[in-house]
């Protein structure tokens, strides 16, 4: 049986974005809290790729940061290889486990130290984890990693600002691989890359997974990329996981009305004249999320119950979905028109 590598249960993270105390007193406004992640549960098996998709601001990066321990959860549990890693104290206790995770950040500009040469940036995890000893050997390994991501060993002597956006993204990928992680959190790893380098990186990630059994939590807004790399896909909306399913199932018969909307918005490269259906309505503010199902103001299937009651996650073959329409059996069949059901 497959072994669960990461398990996340009821994960929450709130941010206080209140105006300063004095302003609150003067204009009588209350505290304001962003429910960035609001009760998310999923699990990832060893050697598989689980992807998160969803509109900008729905909490994907926050989930990623919680998983690798850059934020402490406001609630819920993170279990990695059976060890509880929710909270700073628990993480210290299992430092060895924590160090088996690495993260590729969404923003390659902010995540590379501008004053360090690239060689030192990439060598840092190797030195920190004492993976290789000796300057020459480390240097050789750094050169190897640079070549692996399509840069040159000679690039080790340069500073991050001497590289283009996509080249910097590749440096952060090389750094993440340097730590020989077993679990890699990839937050938009290829969004800054042109499609040919993207193909090289995605192929490389697939090879590493096949050879070393790496497990990935993958975040991308590019649904074609997600379709290509994932075993399972989770769809987030306003801090909640509204649907997850095996990739083939999710793209073949999406259930949640929001998932369907996302699939309809995929850009059209064939120029076949299909006008892409823009996602209707505005993304509501996570500070004041709508009552009940937070998708109801934009949902064509919303009824009175949807406005009142938060839908619970319902297990369906190959996944789970949180929607009253599914539970009540009033979900229309999926047109399946734009996306050919995978096989």
């Amino acid at each position: 049986m497959a072994e669960t590598m990461l398990k996340v249960e009821g994960l929450k993270r709130y941010f206080d974005v209140s105006p300063p105390w004095l302003n609150r007193v003067l204009d009588g406004s209350g505290r304001r809290v962003v429910h960035a992640v609001d009760g998310v549960s999923f699990s990832i098996e060893r050697g598989e790729t689980f992807s998160l998709v969803g509109e900008s601001g729905c909490g994907k990066s926050t989930v990623a940061r919680l998983v690798v321990g850059l934020y402490d959860p406001s609630g819920g549990q993170i279990t990695f290889e059976g060890a509880d890693l929710s909270g700073a104290a628990a993480r210290r206790k299992h430092g060895d486990k924590q160090s088996r995770m690495q993260m590729i950040f969404q923003d390659p500009y902010a995540s590379l130290n501008p004053r360090w040469r690239v060689g030192r940036i990439i060598a840092e995890p190797i030195r920190f984890k004492k993976l290789i000893q000796g300057g020459d050997k480390i240097k050789a390994r750094v050169g190897e990693l640079l070549s692996l991501v399509g840069l040159s060993p000679a690039d080790a002597d340069k500073f991050p600002h001497e590289f283009s956006g996509g080249q910097r993204q590749r440096i952060s990928i090389a750094r993440a691989l340097a730590g020989q992680p077993e679990f890699l959190v990839c937050d938009e790893p290829t969004s800054a890359l042109d499609v040919s380098v993207q193909a090289q990186i995605l192929n490389l990630m697939a090879e590493l997974q096949a050879e070393l059994g790496l497990t990935y939590l993958f975040i991308s807004h590019n649904l074609a990329v997600v379709h290509h790399v994932s075993d399972k896909v989770g769809v987030m909306y306003l801090g909640r996981l509204v649907e997850w399913a095996e990739t083939r199932t999710l793209f073949g018969r999406p259930l949640h009305p929001y998932t369907r909307m996302l699939l309809d918005a995929i850009p059209d490269l064939d120029m076949s004249g299909r006008s892409r259906t823009p996602v209707a309505g505005e993304v509501p503010s996570p500070i004041n999320p709508p009552s009940g199902c937070s998708f109801h103001p934009r949902c064509p299937l919303a009824n009175e119950r949807c406005k009142r009651e938060v839908p619970q996650s319902l297990t369906v073959p190959g996944g789970a979905v949180a929607c009253h329409a599914v539970q009540e059996g009033r979900l229309p069949p999926w047109h399946g028109g734009t996306v050919a059901a995978a096989e």
Binding site: V53, G165, E188, D194, I266, P267, P278, E282, N288
Partner: protein, 325 residues
């Protein structure tokens, strides 16, 4: 034909380094007509951002325009003093950078930055400027704009920050927008919204756009023409349909083949093997020749310039052959 909004002729951008001079942009020429969207795609590191930075006069030293001309509405702007260029930048050219953090000061609330930019360039009162700022934030799809205007950049998600930058670029109704990967950090739905917004601006205000992106879907939907860059040069340029459907340059064909699609799931994506040459080691002849599946003798000796190929221009000896029969 109407006078182009932007005209770039034989642009060359150099970086003097300890190890010699690097040429990041080499003899690049193109123009953008009023209301036109020119898409720019190409290999990472090919010089797309450098070309954009040169146009808005924001090359980071030691990078410099070593040769060529840049004209905005017929007026030469590549030699303007800093102060004058700055005025043009806020008012006539709006810039959306690849890296949202360079355009947003982390110490200021986003509202202050928008209001300040508006007040610098437009005759408005502070209250009017704030109202306009809120309107713009709504237009780029920031939910709860009235509240969010008083937040700091780090309180936004990656995609939301990018939308704030877009609002900042649009705030003075510029005639030309240089958008460097404006939608890379955005999901498809917001992307559709931003693209629709950019298109509407083009239609309503006759505003032109230079749109750098890796996303061929976005190019297919938005651009009128597209330029494909490789190793500092334009490899192919032409109407978007021709370039996507009937690419003449082998590099363009490789790019198109590498795009993952949803209708078929291949085990492995097609990739163009090898890497783009380093700027100090560009091979003789055609820069693409070590990776080109169609390379022949001449490619290793002579460098092809852009030549007519169907409705487009392509820098490839094969394209020349095809035309001459």
């Amino acid at each position: 034909m109407a006078e182009p909004v932007l005209e770039v002729k034989n642009l060359r951008v150099e970086f003097p380094t300890r190890r010699g001079t690097l040429v990041a942009v080499d003899d690049v020429s193109f123009s953008i007509a009023p209301g036109e969207v020119l898409g720019v795609v190409g290999e990472s590191g090919a010089g797309k951002s450098m070309t954009g930075s040169a146009v808005i006069g924001l090359l980071t030293p030691p990078g410099r325009v070593a040769a060529g001309e840049i004209r905005l509405m017929g007026r030469r702007i590549d030699k303007l003093p800093y102060g004058e260029m700055r005025k043009i930048r806020g008012r006539q050219i709006g810039a959306i950078f690849q890296d949202p953090l360079t355009s947003l000061n982390p110490l200021y609330r986003i509202g202050d930055q928008l209001v300040e930019t508006i007040l610098t360039h437009l005759p408005m009162t502070k209250a009017e400027a704030r109202a306009r700022a809120i309107g713009l934030l709504k237009e780029v799809g920031i939910p709860g704009a009235e509240d969010r205007i008083d937040h700091y950049p780090h309180q936004f998600s990656g995609g939301m920050r990018q939308r704030v930058v877009i609002a900042l670029a649009l705030c003075c109704n510029p005639t030309l927008i240089i958008a460097d990967e404006p939608t890379t950090a955005l999901d498809v739905s917001i992307q559709a919204q931003i693209i629709t917004l950019l298109k509407r601006l083009c239609a309503e205000h006759g505003c032109s756009v230079m749109l750098v992106t890796h996303d061929m879907g976005v190019i297919a939907e938005t651009a009128d023409r597209v330029a494909v860059m490789y190793a500092g040069r334009i490899a192919e340029i032409g109407p978007v349909r021709d370039v996507i459907k009937h690419a003449h340059h082998p590099y363009t064909r490789g790019l198109m083949g590498a795009i993952p699609t949803i209708s078929e799931r291949e085990g492995r994506l097609n990739q163009i093997d090898g890497a783009m040459p380093r700027l100090n080691a560009i091979p003789r002849g055609c820069a693409f020749n070590p990776r080109c599946p169609e390379v022949f003798d001449r490619c290793r000796v002579d460098r092809p310039d852009l030549m007519r190929a169907g409705g487009s221009l392509a820098a490839c000896w094969k394209a020349e052959e095809a035309v001459n029969g």
